[in-house]
Amino acid sequence: MRATTLETSTALEPVLARALLFQMKRIRFVEEEIARRYPEGLMRCPTHLSIGQEAVAAAVGAVLRRDDLAVGTHRAHAHYLGKGGSLRAMLAEIYGKVTGCSRGRGGSMHLIDLDVGFEGSTAIVGNSIPIGVGLALAAQLRGTDQVSCVFVGDGAIEEGVFYEAANFAVVRRLPVVFLCENNLYSVYSPLSVRQPPGRSIHGLAAAVGLATDHGDGNDVDEVYVKTAAAVGRVRAGEGPCFLEYATYRWREHCGPNYDNDIGYRTEAEYLAWRERDPVMLYERKLVAAGVFTEAGIDVMQVEIEQEVSDAFRFAEDSPFPEPAEAFEHVYC
């Protein structure tokens, strides 16, 4: 998808609108299928789902060029898919198969697809932040016009390495976009025990010297428009930026279940966010705008389900790596 700067709504561009809706619905269905199949005990690794957070991944993925770079976190499925990462290779990785994107070494938290510039997601909070900045440094030094996108959560900005990396990016005016999905929690810890009231994350980033913007992370339109504008400025050499989007994870921090009953957040809070389901909101918008009919959306869903069930079959049918392979690639 070519990056376009839109003043108004993506609904005015049917090709783009279709791509955004398709990607959101695809991510949703992949994640729902992982959740449904996880209890079979075949995906044997810690797995963090992005259900509820599809809009940011789809929009950012559509804004970025294929040769732009991205790094991610423990919760990376959506970012990887949004950037264009291979679904088959991702599922095979989660199943621990030799056909996985990391040959089974990394699992759900270590996704990579170099064909589309997805340079890796890592499992230690904050770990990939400076790596994304380093990718931007290389792009600047080599004179490419690539942008590096660093996906972070609201928890990751509490790590010192965020400030160190952001500061350097500002000093050197690096082509990096920090993309923060604020889903209000770090595991079961609400923002209130981690960050002071009345101080926004984007405000903090601005104080470090980053250009910032923020918005509704469940409105794919808004995320697309704001991100496209910001990436355009970064690509033009105006220096790094920080985008904060408000969103919400529907299921438990790690694993396939709902956990609103265990006490760290309320069912009412979850239901309020569910009312603002990013996929449903955009579907309704496009139907209202006449871009899609209900029937057209059903056709899209069938296409998605076919791709996803094919990818699960590929993952399940692929062999495990031989145990001896564990000893390869320690050094080059």
């Binding site: 005990g41 044997r44 690794c45 810690p46 797995t47 621990g96 198969k97 030799v98 996985g100 990391s102 089974g104 070494r105 990394g106 699992g107 759900s108 938290m109 270590h110 890592t122 499992a123 230690i124 909070v125 904050g126 770990n127 928890g155 990751a156 509490e158 790590e159 010192g160 390495v161 770090s186 595991v187 079961y188 810890s189 025990v193 981690r194 960050q195 790690c254 694993g255 265990i262 006490g263 760290y264 062999p319 495990f320 790596p321 031989e322 145990p323 392979e325 564990a326 000893f327 320690v330």
Partner: protein, 360 residues
Amino acid sequence: MTVSGEPRVPRTLTYAEAVNDALHVAMASDPSVICYGLGVDDPKTIFGTTKGLQTRFGDQRVFDMPTAEAAMTGVAIGAALGGMRPVMVHQRLDFFLLAMDQLVNGAAKWHYMFGGQRSVPITIRLILGRGWGQGPTHSQSLHAWFAHIPGLKVVMPTNPEDAKGLLLASIFDPNPVLFLEHRWLHNTMGSVPEGDYRIPLGKARQLREGDAVTIVSMSYMTVEALHAVDHLRQSDVHCDLLDLRTVSPLDWDAVFASVRRTGRLLVLDTAAETGSIAGEIAARAAIECWTLLKSAPQRIAMPDIPEPTSFGLTRGLHPRAEHIVAAVAALVGKQIGVDELVARRTVPHDVPGDWFKGPF
């Protein structure tokens, strides 16, 4: 050393409950003990180990923290200098790696580099992950790193009774202590006395007696060793099994005394082989007991590779009881079958038992 004279009724607790009990006892007996870490007051209470602490002792003394391991370790040092006894916890040792400067350049050296004037009584609980695809950055056993740093104590209990007594000793020790809990031990059961009792740091526990081979072990490897030693007994091979409990300071007297008696040494370690505690023990035993050794010291540890995630790649990766039996059999020059031992294991290789269904 036991500090209180109250009668102590043993109850059966899990390892996690024993840790929890120790924290309750410590906080009740000394108002300077504080407890923090990511998730200490969340619904999962760090696998149950911090259960009830915040309700009982309040959110001034028991609190969640920002995702900021480095700074919060320095904060613990400062709080300790200011008169508190902080107990921090990390759900994986790997997360604590962000704090190495504060630990190594700060906590470990404060007493020494300021001429012995100050002490840093902090306890840092670290959980060692294994299985269910914990993978390269959720499964590292880096106790040898810590033991390499003078000024740090490193504790690795195996059973519930020791977990409680050693944690109490760690909290009230004047030095910085790393307290490593293996995730596969949290659900193991054992009898645990009530009240305040402290097990001295630096003393191994002899779990089995025999004169064929000295087996030195720690943490989860001791569970495998117990299976192995009991299996070997059926073939009339009797081993000394020393559970180190503390890897720094290490109970050299106990190790050498046993090796002098058996003349044969097998060391087990949860960590990668090169640079391991197992290597250090093998080396020192060779130096100290050279003329009494009947064969070269042996060790069983993890291979020198990062731990992969895949169920396929972890098949046979971790040393188990049958490997220990085979190593002992080779040391004593006997053929000893392991089929029965292997057949007894009914759960897949990547979980400790039926209770473990992932995801971490």
